[in-house]
């Protein structure tokens, strides 16, 4: 009897369990959709699992996951510091474009210089995109969510415009930029890829993602900067009273978050993408970053795992049509997961069900 109670308390108080339950519910809802469409749940989910567990599949997942992880870290960092970086999308886009343009104009530099230079350009552009919004907020009191959404569109059209400029646009018929300079590519050599049997776009990006994860953790947990930013995020009045410059902290937080989103963009084009297409709508890596940050509970390591999970869904999802299931199923699953995480407070209330007697408690837990 006593043990059961603590088990219920465990479920209702453990955030990790809430996330896990949300994911399971996401897949359950996905299964319902499959069943309604008359498709085999086993075949579709089997396909999903098979496609990400082989060596080649897993390396694909890692390749897919890298930009999601870093974009997720960008958003998670902003959550921790009390600003909601919904502008990661725009910062991602300008970062990607900055990396492409830098690589094209400095293509003769050796990799050891060119790659950091591209990263730097991307991070500067992303940070700029974040800081300008921050200045509008702190100096003019303009709501950051509104200006970020507008900045997302400015970035989108700016990227499309630059991609069409002579010298940057692909000379062929493709509506895209030229491929980045070979020296700026993070991809492993063709020989290695062939020998090892990994995904053809497998690249160094995952090392960067691990480094950024560690750095963010270090910054948030171990530095005075992280302390300041978190204090402002948790209670800006007390932070101000304690002598922390609140406006400067908001700008710093947006700058760092923006730089990370920009870096995520660079990692996409220098790793998997190699070029930027002229898009008709936003690609949504930055928005995916919000989802990843949510699933990862804004914890850097949680975000890393969540990014891998998201990458697996995206890659595995693209293989679903092989069994006749629509790839949009993945969106249904992701949407449901996010929905349940957003209302995860319901899991916290599981313990109140126990008042209604043991039978219904068991049912409640089993259902959840």
């Amino acid at each position: 009897m006593k043990e059961k109670k603590s088990w219920i308390d465990f479920i209702s108080e453990n955030t990790f369990i809430h996330i896990l339950l949300s994911i399971i519910l996401g897949f359950l809802v996905g299964a319902i959709f499959l069943a309604v469409m008359g498709l085999s749940v086993g075949a579709a989910y089997g396909r999903l699992i098979n496609s990400v567990t082989s060596l080649k599949g897993f390396t694909y997942v890692v390749v897919y996951a890298v930009p999601y992880i870093v974009a997720g870290l960008s958003v998670a960092f902003s959550f921790k510091t009390g600003v909601f970086n919904i502008g990661a999308e725009g910062q991602f886009v300008v970062g990607a474009m900055a990396a492409v343009v830098t690589s094209l104009f400095a293509s003769s530099l050796p990799s050891i210089i060119l790659i950091p230079l591209c990263f730097l350009a991307a991070m500067c552009m992303g940070a700029l995109w974040g800081v300008v919004v921050g200045i509008l907020k702190t100096k003019r009191g303009i709501n950051e969510v509104l200006s970020m959404i507008m900045f997302n569109w400015i970035a989108f059209y700016l990227s499309n415009y630059i991609a069409g400029l002579p010298g940057i646009k692909n000379e062929g018929s493709a509506e895209a930029t030229k491929n980045i300079a070979a020296n700026a590519s993070l991809q492993f050599s063709k020989d290695f890829i062939k020998q090892a049997g990994v995904a053809p776009t497998f690249n160094w990006g995952f090392i960067i993602a691990i480094l950024v994860t560690l750095l963010v953790w270090l910054m948030i947990e171990k530095t005075t900067l992280g302390y300041e930013l978190k204090a402002v995020g948790a209670n800006k009045y007390a932070a101000e009273y304690g002598g922390i410059n609140v406006n400067r902290s908001i700008l710093t937080a947006l700058g760092i978050s923006g730089a990370m989103a920009g870096l995520a963009g660079a990692l996409l084009v220098m790793g998997m993408g190699q070029r930027i297409s002229i898009f008709s709508s936003q690609e949504g890596y930055g928005f995916a970053g919000i989802v990843v940050a949510l699933i990862g509970c804004s914890n850097p390591f949680g975000v890393f795992i969540a990014g891998l999970f998201y990458g697996a869904l995206m890659y595995g999802g693209s293989k679903l049509n092989l069994v006749g299931a629509p790839t949009q199923l993945i969106s249904v699953i992701v949407g449901t997961v996010v929905f349940f995480i957003s209302i995860s407070v319901i899991f916290r209330n599981i313990k109140y069900l126990k008042k209604r007697g043991n039978a219904s408690t068991k049912k409640g837990v089993a259902k959840a």
Binding site: E221, K222, T224, G243
Partner: protein, 512 residues
Amino acid sequence: MSKEYVDVGTPAIEMRNIVKKFGDFVANDGINLTVHKGEIHAILGENGAGKSTLMNQLYGLLKPTSGEILVNGKPIEMNNPRDAIDAGIGMVHQHFMLVQPFTVTENIVLGAEPLKGVTLDMATARKNVIELSEKYGLSIDPDAKIEDISVGMQQRVEILKALYRGADILILDEPTSSLTPQEIVELIQIMHNLTHDGKCIILITHKLKEIKEAADYCTIIRLGKYIGTVDVDTVDENDLASMMVGRKVTFQVDKPAQEPGKVVLDVKDLHGVDYRGVEILKGLNLQVHAGEIVGIAGIDGNGQTELVEILTGLRKGTQGDATVNGVSIYNKSPSFGFEHGVSSIPADRQKHGLVLDFSIEDNLILQNYGEAPFSKKRFLQRDSIFKHASKSIEDYDIRPRQSEKRPAGTLSGGNQQKVIIAREVQNDKDLLIAVNPTRGLDVGAIEYVHQYIVEQRNKGKAVLLVSFELDEIMSLSDVIDVIFDGKIVSSIPGGQANENELGLLMAGGKAE
């Protein structure tokens, strides 16, 4: 206290053998409470004794582990505050539950808004609120936003909110903690008016004087256990205090005579405006010497809030100067003031004093996280921070022990205040500004806070004490400065003041 209104028939509230456990912790261990119509019943206990837990069960915020609650003789199960409100129970919480960006009127009618068809009828709401506030003499500005008004007015809004819902049984959790002495007298009058109407009031308070003045009966709780219920007429304050803490309590602060030293804080011709942009400080002059406690006595809204905000760097003045040890801190940042000798215990401990989501150890380094030994080369030194917290928790008697990593928000009000005091006192600055430092604390904690403030003075620090507790001002201050209409109108040596004279001066009158 006469019990002329008490109706000894069926009790309005009966709580029988209430037990409430949180895990292994027993917050309430067999508490009994009986309250009749027309009765003012005080609940007395130290911070963390389980008073709020008990009341939260009566108000449907918590469910008892075992025990029975009867309202008007009928057993009732409360699942949420809505059930309690339907049963005619209203509660005014110690920590305000107000929507900051809403106006006073909007807050009072929230959840019980008058409607015109399907739309809100704010005009009627406003009229009702004004009528109600006039009827009970609780003055408010119905159109001001909560975030702009003083703590005192917020408290009045809370009381009106409960009255607006027509509660018959009113739970008041520390209702007088931010009221001035005059307002307290008025409130006690209101409470008697209410009991005359057949309503009953459960008064949670630490203030023994108020229990003697207002309450008919008093139930005492210590460490979650039911100690007893007494007829207030048959006991004195000392009896109540020792029943509450289980030992003798000294009310006198031991304060040796001491010659003040050089001027530390010097405020000259200070002008400033309030949140509405209306001039509220009108050329205030003030000096605090080393080794001296200067108490500011005044009715809320005469400029003391703005004075403190300017001195701590949260607000800009419009004219004048303020220096600490000769260095101007006027219109500088909070960190500038801190670096030049100002530490402070803020009025609103949860808004300005603490980051509630932060652990106690992190709250203890809020101003000096960037200094050795707490950080080196911009990296936090977790070991030193933890050691500092362990020592502070021990030295300043912060309870529970081993709480270094616990969020500050999980502590009781008194212990939250101890965290702030530990931090500010250890900062060891020349000037300590303390604003309502004992608001909402029990006598044990008050005794403790007072000791620390006097200790600072004895060590040669300058202390500026702003408080709405006249008793506190009178017992601690070496000099009492009376503030009225944005100026210090009178300066009286601490030993020579009496309550009537101060009350007169605070209201803008002239002393004899």
